[in-house]
Symmetry: C2
Subunit: 306 residues, 2 copies
């Protein structure tokens, strides 16, 4: 049961030789969800040997280039490499026309079905749900409309004890009700208590991706006790005014949000190019919130460790 | 007086870790002209320490992604880094809307004037001319409309002999007529023959960029005695049918074109990803045309050597 995040890029605005713009791959039980897709993401996926045809859902936070300029290239490469299964894009509605106009100019009729799901602009809703995960949007405060994403693993509250199920000869199609906590009544009318058939499951993992945004107290409630919060630290604390003006946050704001929401761990990123050594940002954030990680390309965070 | 070409990428279709899609930078007398701009081009420019703010003209052959998906990122980075001088884009007309829709979605009002020059679709014309260079389009035969480009250095036929000009006290504003071959009549009416004031200049350099296209005999005339012809070899000779179907050319076709047009040198590129070792393509092309080079990222061709 995997729940792990690979960082493909974590810089802001301008890509350079060693700093890729925002993109992350979330693997939940071996299904792959791509979050943002700055220029060069498809090459990063190859570099870290992550098969991009396994991605079925792509979530784009907003339409600044460092978060999506790599998407059309990825869509095209999936096509050229013979993909035929569905691809779902979750993004602000303007992206649909941007994709279409480029496919049209190339006279490309995709081999696979592409489904576009516009993000809600005024509501926070579940925007995707499968038997694996539930994804909600979070409305952020940037210079253009921007969305965070909350990924929550779906898990039954109870875990089957295989030997007990065999002992009582419980049919396969009844297991879900046991996983949900029901007792079992066998053919003689005997009630077998759920507790003797199952054990408590581990808590479902939760991950929030939150960039680009100004700090707001309203965010605290959304990240309550989250396993990992990815939050932007475009600037150090001395650039608070600049952060506000440009729709971004600082190290202290990230730490303060993580602390107030009792997040278990904080992952920072989206560094301004002015910071040649991004560890400065880590040092400053850690002063206020100890469990902070510095995102960098190729880093893998396995939620088992949290 | 520089005339040199830097290869930024020379692969076809799908970018990978070590193979960048098409882009080239032509430096003519220290002015920079960018030809095609596949995804990742801005990072390639940084990698080879080529200041992209020096580019004033960008020529895009056609609207398949491996030739232009890096353009919007480059335009955005030029803006974010404070450019204020003009940028000229020469491409098929559909690109203008593709750029505009993306700037609009980001709510970006560029700091600098961006001029869009649609390529002629039915005629071959001079599409750009300055005191340095003359650029013409070449209509190619691909699966969508596609254009090659012919770059011709502008040069006076005669070169001033500085010491002679000083000896005869010839004013600065009269030098152009000498460079064009005129004699000089001094204040006493004496005719000083041009030959004693100037020497023969070297021939203007000529470079043709020619991808993606099916082979056609009609191309021969256009590349007559050209210094360097860049021509695609997407496929080896055994894939002739596939080349024809997909609007591409083979090694033998590239060599044959170079030979028939008496090109001085041939540069091949736009390799299909099926060729792990691109030197196979070089070996095959060289069988028919000896002066062949294999383009690869970072390679610099100085036309002085031709």
């Amino acid at each position: 049961m995997s729940f792990r995040l690979t960082i493909l890029g974590s810089s802001s605005a301008i890509p350079s030789v060693n700093r890729n713009p925002t993109s992350q791959l979330l693997n939940v039980n071996e299904r792959c969800y791509l979050i943002d897709c700055g220029e060069g993401t498809q090459v990063q996926l190859r570099k870290y040997e992550l098969n991009f045809q396994r991605i079925n859902h792509i979530f784009i936070s907003h339409l600044h280039g460092d978060h999506y300029f790599g998407l059309i290239g990825l869509i095209s490469s999936m096509h050229l490499l013979g993909r035929n299964k569905d691809l779902h894009i979750h993004a602000h509605k303007e992206l649909e026309a941007i994709i279409e106009i480029q496919l049209q100019a190339a006279n490309t009729d995709l081999n696979y079905p592409l489904f576009f799901h516009p993000l809600p602009e005024n509501d926070e809703l579940i925007i995707h749900e499968d038997d694996n995960i539930k994804v909600s949007n979070i409305i952020l405060d940037h210079t253009i409309k921007c969305s965070g994403f909350l990924f929550e693993e779906k898990k039954f509250s109870r875990k089957i004890v295989r030997s007990k199920v065999e002992e009582y000869n419980i049919p396969h199609d009844k297991l879900i009700s046991l996983q949900n906590g029901s007792d079992w009544i066998n053919s003689t009318g005997e009630v077998i208590k759920n507790k003797s058939l199952t054990t408590m499951n581990t808590k479902p993992k939760r991950y929030a991706f939150c960039t680009d945004t100004r700090y707001s107290d309203l965010l605290i409630e959304k990240f309550k006790e989250i396993d990992l919060l990815y939050y932007e630290t475009t600037f150090k604390e001395d650039m608070l005014d600049r952060a506000r003006q440009t729709g971004h946050s600082t190290t202290f704001q990230a730490a303060s949000l993580a602390k107030s929401s009792k997040a278990k761990n904080l992952l920072i990123g989206h560094y301004s190019k002015r910071y040649k050594d991004t560890s400065e940002l880590l040092i400053e954030t850690k002063k206020y919130f100890k469990n902070t990680f510095l995102s960098k390309s190729g880093m893998v965070l396995d939620f088992k460790q949290f």
